[in-house]
């Protein structure tokens, strides 16, 4: 009996969590705006400094071959 109660409670918990689980779905205004906000940031042009930085890091690596 105890186990059954636990199962029922777990089920209710699961359903409640599912309700909360997709609070940012496609139908949600907040969810849409959030993606719009972020996508705009992601599509921003990347300044050259980062490619330059990685090239510098690459050149600064200690030479591996020492024979």
């Amino acid at each position: 009996m105890k186990d059954m109660t636990k199962d029922i409670l777990a089920g209710a918990e699961g359903r409640r969590r599912n309700g909360v689980g997709d609070p940012l779905g496609a139908n949600s205004e907040i969810g849409r705006k959030l993606k719009q906000y972020y996508d705009e940031l992601v599509s921003d042009d990347v300044p050259d400094r980062f490619a330059q930085l990685l090239s510098q890091l690459e050149q600064a690596e200690p030479a591996q071959k020492k024979d």
Binding site: G21, L24, S28, K33, L41, V46, F50, L54, P62, Q64
Partner: protein, 183 residues
Amino acid sequence: MPAVSQGFKTDLLGAIPSLRAFAVSLTQNADKADDLVQETLVKAWDKHESFQPGTNLKAWLFTILRNEFYSQMRKRGREVQDSDGIMTARLAVHPAQHGQLDLKDFRGALEQLPEDQREAIILIGASGFSYEEAAEICGCAVGTIKSRVSRARTRLQEILKISGEDEYGPDAISAQVTGTAAH
């Protein structure tokens, strides 16, 4: 120390747009964000050996960036962010008409969230991470991420005066906030 592979470098380059987006979301400042991304790339380069190939590089990089952000904040002495008083004073966003929510208003609302809630809702709602991945990035329990996302959403709805879009009815947390618990 083994050389950094070409593939790793290419993957780092590919991750930069996402890193910048996450950094802006955290810092709310484009210059600070780019400095943060730079630090992240240098750190990632230095400790590339600790990355396990085949695992999620983006999550690994986000973790580094986030740690860097919080350690810088601690060093600088925390900038005022999450004082309720200040936030309430800045709540003057005019009501949004349904479906016509301005992106600028949204940005302003996002800025008003405490960092932990903002990063949670960004990781889950925008960066495409699962709750498990977000929990790993933030070094906390999955349940903690869930409740932060939920609080963030409720708060954004309050600030932007959006209501009635939750098809499941008020969840436990918003019910606590809006509930009329008459004692």
